[in-house]
């Protein structure tokens, strides 16, 4: 009994020291886990390497007012909304526009009111973060024809509204490739928040990326809720349970496209000592060090780039309706390398180039 | 009139065992106690008499710590006490035997007696010590019990004995008995009185609550009369008569059920044939019961409570599906009819528990008038409530049945029990039923209301109403009924002519189901 306690204390101590020193690897813990599964070996505390948004030549928009309304949940989701905030904040800093960000109520029932409030308050460009804004924006855009609107992840058929779309399948392809490289168990998982067409795009790209590296790697797909029930994007407990199941089932890498529910996936990964892949933001930078070592990479959907680019286009008169597509080519989509756990980054860079060059076409369904 | 007689028995201690001074207790909607004064001498049997609802029970609950007086003083053995709970009262030597026994049926006598006060030895219940103590108490006070018998196998009288023993076991020197004879048949009453006399001899003080005057005169050393919440007189049982006491209690002449000309016709209004109901376990609750009620007839059902009366009432009203047998109303088989259909066909109902089954306590009187008749005029017009009609009908009832209320918009729980009952009788009779089930129609109502209700039932009878009268009040049954059925364990064990039946005879059938020892009247 005492002996066991002593051993446990030693192990705990070694783990703690490992976290602090952030060394590459240690023999202590990996010996205890199965050799046929990838474990959390990532370095912790690495810094963001993404280039800051914007450049010297960006236009001066001082005096212009840009409003942004978050998706339900608002800031602090470590994902979508935070990324949007980074974009608009950079726009305020670099282009001197006046910004205002608002968060809808829990049911999202005042999205329209908030946008209307911005429109009547002199905000001549209004960004809605998330496709849920589409129906409301269509009507408000009609009421305020002189105001420019942009919607992240959505399309609204109004001349003064621009859809900011992403080639998520491309980024998902690359993290799928990374997952296949890292997996020792030869089976990986996917947790989608809600079974929407949008999230299915992530799934399709991810699967294609996995097969690109190794057609024999199995992909387990789980969705938290069916389409129409959007609780799947904000249910960390469900995310944790689902991911736990996947890890227990033998998956050693799980990619989540589940918004706030992803924090649960990370918790499950840390508890199981298995790898997880983040989404939308570079999630390595947002999680505590204990979880950082379990994050293989993130599919970065640069909502910040999209928001920033849209504001820039607005100032230069380039926001003319229709859609703007953000992909690997224009830096709207990327993958993260922090933690240094991707076995073959060069191969991924190579695949990325092939996609940019059009040599690989990633499926969307 | 009767002079207030101070108790002057020799050899009594100067300090009363219990003394209540100027007790006041208010409640919303019920008769409260005001300025109650009572002195109980040690080692005596002191009867507290009064009509149901006069405030006797409330008073005793205060003495037993179940309720606290709003003002006034309680003294036990000369010392002022303030009981916050029955535990305080027990600690001061005051114990109470409730009207409804508080025993666990599935435990033995011994277990019930020691429950909550188990003697312990090494952390275990010391059964042998308990057994010794119970035997000791039984011998001292003349209360023999079988300690290992299950309470559910005991008769009512034996259960009461266990209750008394339980209180004594807890060290009570002052015993409160709340209407102890209400649930007993005459023979059991005699036994109880013998026991109480024995207890008195052993120095126990007994406060005996009753409204049965013969018993009080036979047993008590002193009598205090309560009327309308306050003590109105004390009386000496050696000189007072039942008539004196009744007049003190009632404040007016005592009504007596009189013999009248029969109004019974030959038309059968209600025919019950072979009615049988079984419990979930298949035990017969109602066993092959058959009888008829003619137009203009009152058929009385006598029996100790729990011998099938409730089931019979429920089956007649359509609240319980019988397992066998038929019920005919005016020649039509209504056995499968819903309650509403039966009521619409002219079946009136005075339920045994008016508050639980007869009233909406938080609804105004005029809505209570509708209850049971909410599908018939004058209360409704088509699917709509006819508030005007219902209110007018209620006003009529208040007028004709002397319901004492400021108006018909007060809620039912603001009325006293007697007035609630008059409202119920009124609404049932005003609907001009063909037949009526009346269960304990005067239970808990004052004597004035009782007389009025009896008169109303008689008047309805003379206009042809067929009434089934279920009652625990033998005087009522004998006085009102044209025919009397005795039920025992779900069976009709005797059909008696009320004009010749005696209480002794009835009691015999009610307890044993046959007429042994019933005496010459059988």
């Amino acid at each position: 009994m005492l002996l066991l306690l002593a051993v446990a204390a030693l192990v705990a101590a070694s783990c703690a020291s490992k976290d602090k020193t952030s060394t590459t690897s240690n023999g202590g813990t990996s010996g205890g886990t199965s050799a046929s599964a990838a474990t959390c070996q990532g370095k912790t505390g690495e810094k963001d390497t993404a280039k800051p948004l914007g450049s010297v030549g960006d236009p001066n928009g001082s005096g212009k007012k840009v409003g942004l309304v978050f998706d339900v949940g608002g800031r602090g989701d470590k994902s979508f909304n935070d990324s949007a905030y980074n974009g608009i904040e950079a726009a305020a800093k670099n282009m001197k526009v006046t910004i205002k960000t608002l968060e809808p109520d829990a049911s999202g029932s005042n999205r329209a009111e908030l946008m209307r409030g911005l429109a009547t308050g002199g905000y001549t460009m209004i960004i809605g973060v998330g496709f849920a804004f589409a129906d409301d924006m269509a009507k408000i855009a009609k009421d305020f024809p002189n105001t420019k609107f942009a919607i992240v992840d959505g399309v609204v058929k109004q001349p003064n509204t621009t859809g900011l779309l992403f080639a998520e399948e491309q980024g998902s392809f690359l993290v799928g490739a990374a997952a296949a490289q890292a997996s020792k168990a030869k089976q990986v998982g996917f947790v989608g928040g809600v079974e929407t067409a949008l999230i299915k795009k992530f799934e399709a790209g991810y699967k294609a990326g996995v097969k690109q590296i190794d057609p024999n790697v199995k992909v387990d797909v789980k969705y938290l809720t069916p389409d129409g029930d959007f609780s799947g994007f904000k249910d960390p407990a469900k995310g944790e349970t689902t991911a736990k199941g996947l890890y227990a089932n033998g998956d050693d890498v799980v990619y989540h496209a589940a918004g706030l529910s992803g924090t649960g996936v990370f918790r499950a990964a840390t508890a199981a000592d298995r790898l997880a892949i983040g989404v939308d933001s570079n999630q390595y930078l947002q999680v505590p060090p204990a979880q950082q070592k379990c994050i293989l990479t993130s599919m970065i959907k640069r909502v910040d780039v999209a928001v920033y680019t849209a504001v820039k286009a607005y100032l230069t008169g380039g926001l003319k309706g229709g859609t703007l597509m953000f992909d690997l080519k224009n830096g709207g989509i990327d993958f993260a390398t922090q933690g240094g756990q991707i076995p073959d980054t060069k191969k991924l860079e190579d695949l990325k180039q092939q996609i940019i060059d059009g040599k690989i076409t990633v499926p969307t369904t | 009139m009767l002079p207030s007689a101070e108790p002057r028995a020799p050899g009594r201690a100067e300090v009363p065992a219990v003394e209540l001074r100027h007790i006041v207790k208010r409640f919303p909607g019920v008769v409260a106690n005001r300025d109650v004064n009572l002195a109980v001498q040690r080692g005596s049997i002191h009867a507290v008499i009064g009509e149901n609802g006069a405030g006797k029970s409330t008073l005793m609950k205060m003495l037993y710590g179940m309720q606290r007086p709003d003002s006034g003083t309680i003294l036990v053995d000369g010392a002022e006490v303030s009981f916050r709970s029955p535990n305080d009262a027990i600690a001061a030597g005051v114990g109470m035997v409730h009207q409804h026994f508080m025993l666990a049926d599935n435990l033995t006598v011994l277990e019930n007696v020691i429950l909550g006060r188990e003697p312990r030895r090494f952390g275990m219940i010391d059964r042998s010590a308990a057994r010794r103590r119970i035997a000791e108490l039984g011998a001292t006070y003349g209360l023999p019990v079988a300690p290992d018998a299950l309470v559910e196998d005991l008769g009512v009288g034996q259960r009461q004995r266990v209750e008394i023993l339980k209180v004594l076991y807890r060290g009570a020197r002052i015993l409160i008995l709340d209407e102890p004879t209400a649930v007993l048949v005459p023979q059991e009453v005699d036994e109880l009185f013998a026991n109480l006399s024995e207890l008195k001899r052993e120095g126990i003080t007994i406060i005996f609550i009753s409204h049965k005057l013969d018993e009080v005169l036979a047993l008590a050393d002193d009598i205090t009369v309560i009327r309308a919440g306050t003590t109105v007189a004390t009386a000496d049982p050696r000189t007072a008569t039942t008539r004196d006491l009744a007049e003190l209690m009632v404040g007016s002449e005592l009504p007596t059920p009189e013999t009248r000309d029969s109004t019974v016709t030959t038309d059968v209004q209600v025919r019950v044939n072979g009615l049988t109901c079984r419990s979930a376990h298949g035990r017969p609750l109602l066993d092959d019961v058959s009888f008829t009620i003619h137009r203009g007839e009152i058929v009385g059902i006598a029996g100790v409570e729990g011998n099938g009366q409730t089931e019979l009432i429920e089956a007649l009203m359509g609240l319980r599906d019988p397992d066998a047998g038929t019920i005919e109303l005016g020649g039509v088989d209504v056995t499968r009819w819903s309650t509403r259909r039966r009521r619409e066909a002219g079946l009136g109902y005075v339920p045994e528990d008016r508050q639980r089954h007869g009233l909406l306590l938080d609804a105004p009187l005029w809505e209570n008038e509708m209850l049971g008749h909410q599908s018939q005029p004058p209360n409704v017009k088509g699917p709509w409530i006819d508030g005007g009609g219902a209110r007018q009908r209620t006003e009529e009832i208040v007028e004709r049945f002397d319901v004492r209320t400021p108006n018909i918009d007060v809620t039912a729980n603001a009325l006293s029990g007697g007035n609630q009952q008059k409202l119920i009788i009124g609404r049932e009779l005003m609907a001009e039923p063909q037949a009526m089930v009346a269960a304990h129609p005067t239970r808990g109502v004052d004597v004035g209301a009782q007389a009025a209700i009896w008169d109303q039932l008689r008047a309805a009878r003379s206009t042809g109403l067929a009434t089934l009268l279920v009652s625990a009040d033998l005087q009522e049954l004998i006085g009102l009924s044209d025919a009397l059925l005795v039920v025992f364990e779900g069976r009709v064990v005797a059909r008696l002519d009320p004009s010749t039946a005696t209480p002794q005879q009835l009691g015999s059938y009610m307890t044993r189901g046959d007429a042994r020892d019933a005496g010459p009247a059988a």
Binding site: A132, G163, D227 | A228, L360, L361, Q374, A414
Partner: protein, 366 residues
Amino acid sequence: MLLLAAPLLAVAVAVAASALVLLATGNSPSKVFWVMAVKGTKTEAVVSMLNRAGPYYISGVAVAIGFKMNLFNIGVEGQYRLAALLAAAAGAAVTLPAPLHVLVILLVAMATGALWAVIPGLLKATRGVSEVISTIMLNAVAGGVTALLLEQYLKAPQEQGGYTVGTRPIGASGRFPSLNAAIAHLGIHLPAANRLQAYIFVAVAVGVAYHLLVWRTRFGFDLRASGSNPSAAEASGVDAKRMIVAAMAISGAFAGLVGLSQVLSEAGRYTSDTVIGGLGFTGIAVALLGRNHPLGIALGALLWAFMDAVQTPLANEGLPKQITAIMQGLIVLSVVVAYEVVRRTAARREASELRRAMPAPEVVRA
């Protein structure tokens, strides 16, 4: 008097308590309350309040019908969701003259809500299953069924790049116009972007129907009797089981109308954003606030809607909008306490009045 004093007192207590919360979290209560009082009463916020109050009211009535006979219909949530979906789909599938079209949609919604609510009613009547448990469970089932039906059968084709899942839009004949033009005649000119929805009239109609049904019909009497004293109701001829099923069906029928305000107006179709979640639970709070009284529920719904509507100006001012949610909770809590205090006071008063009206008989006559 007393009846009004209770809610007013409760609101005052809630305001005081939330002021303390604001102070404790380093916010200025005066500023927050100023915004609520001034911006919250501007036309825009009032329109938003009225638009919200309609569904809250209907939901409150649906819950209150259950409460009237001691049934706790927590399932309004699932009932309106399913009903709104099927009604929206039905409305999009047919084209009829204007009043008829709207009527068909409303009837489909009521029928769906009623049928869904009858399930827990039957379970309770025949099997004794607590409606609290079954309605909670059926909420989850309704969420799943709705999502599945929408995804599998009722989904409108999505535009390229559009991800909003919804039914096809209902034709103009099946929608309510905004009331802006109507109130312009009254001299109140709303900006085009600020639409006062005509759905408020449905709420008014529901209120009138509720009042008539519960207080003016035989059925309503049976319902109230069953709630007030089930065994007395049964003895009076009420079929308790049938009553449970009927009450749940009617509660569900009203619940079916809860989610249609957006579907029948601006949005014209069902999506997860036009039919928002949580209205069923709001209805429970609103019914409690209003003590199941038709006008009381209306006040409760307006108060609740006001609290939600001022979230927007509060957010605009950068003030913590969460305070309104705290206040809503505090108000319900204090109202429940206040009503109980008032109830006891009233009972005492009635009793003492009765004692005065009927003095006890003369005391000692001996």
